[in-house]
């Protein structure tokens, strides 16, 4: 894990990826109890191509392939861990990426989505495991109520929050 996170840092510092942050189940694991997951979700800002607006993960995968890492379904296995690169695909994820928290993992600096953004993303996504994650965050005491309210209001998620946490 440490080697994987170190490699991601190097990719960022060498400009292969722009801003990046850990999201999904592993990001949640930084704040709450561990849950089963098989991939490490890494949200990225891809460098803009000079001639157009189209963003593609293609050059990133080409780079990793050339570096000798193998693909595994939608992931690339980097130092033993399947990593899924995901572009920021909506305003909430863009905001989460811009406000990621620099966290320490065994001496490596790792940007991780905040617990409030992870909660909002889980509400927005709304699968069974996302609802369970919202409940875990709600019970954990790690959420800042003011920060969470701001995010939920900006992204129209107050109703979902109320319906899930008052049942």
């Amino acid at each position: 894990m440490r080697a994987t996170l170190h490699y991601l840092r190097q990719m960022h510092e060498s400009g292969i990826i722009g801003g990046y942050a850990i999201g999904g189940a592993m990001a949640a694991t930084f704040y709450i109890e561990p849950v089963t997951t098989f991939d490490l979700d890494v949200f990225v800002v891809l460098p803009q191509e000079a001639d157009g607006l189209l963003l593609s993960l293609g050059p990133l995968y080409d780079y990793l392939r050339a570096a000798g890492f193998k693909e595994d379904k939608e992931c690339v296995v980097i130092h033993g861990i399947p990593v899924q690169f995901l572009p920021a695909f909506n305003p909430l994820v863009e905001e989460a990426l811009a406000n990621a928290i620099e966290t320490d993992y065994d001496g490596i600096k790792v940007p991780v989505f905040s617990p409030e953004h992870l909660t909002a993303i889980a509400l927005q996504t709304g699968r069974g495991k996302d609802k369970a994650r919202v409940q875990s965050f709600a019970e954990s005491g790690v959420l800042c109520p003011e920060k969470l309210t701001g995010i939920l209001t900006r992204h129209g998620l107050e109703g979902k929050w109320k319906s899930l946490t008052t049942d």
């Binding site: 080697a3 694991t29 561990p34």
Partner: protein, 63 residues
């Protein structure tokens, strides 16, 4: 001498608080220890997923 009911009460009383306390203890673990737990969970889940035709990759965190 302690009555059997007392022993029973002592054993049962903490039960409603056991799960939240356990989850709190898990939340407070250092992240590398949490990752080791994730891998242990993967090893439990992987055979079940393989039986369903999926091909999960258990992490090699010793790399």
């Amino acid at each position: 001498m302690e009555k059997p009911d007392d022993r029973l009460n002592r054993a049962v009383t903490p039960f409603p608080f056991g799960k939240p306390l356990h989850r709190e203890a898990l939340r407070k673990l250092p992240m590398p220890e949490k990752v080791r737990i994730v891998v242990a969970l993967q090893k439990i889940a992987a055979p079940i997923l393989r039986a369903r035709g999926e091909t999960p990759t258990v992490w090699d965190i010793e790399v």
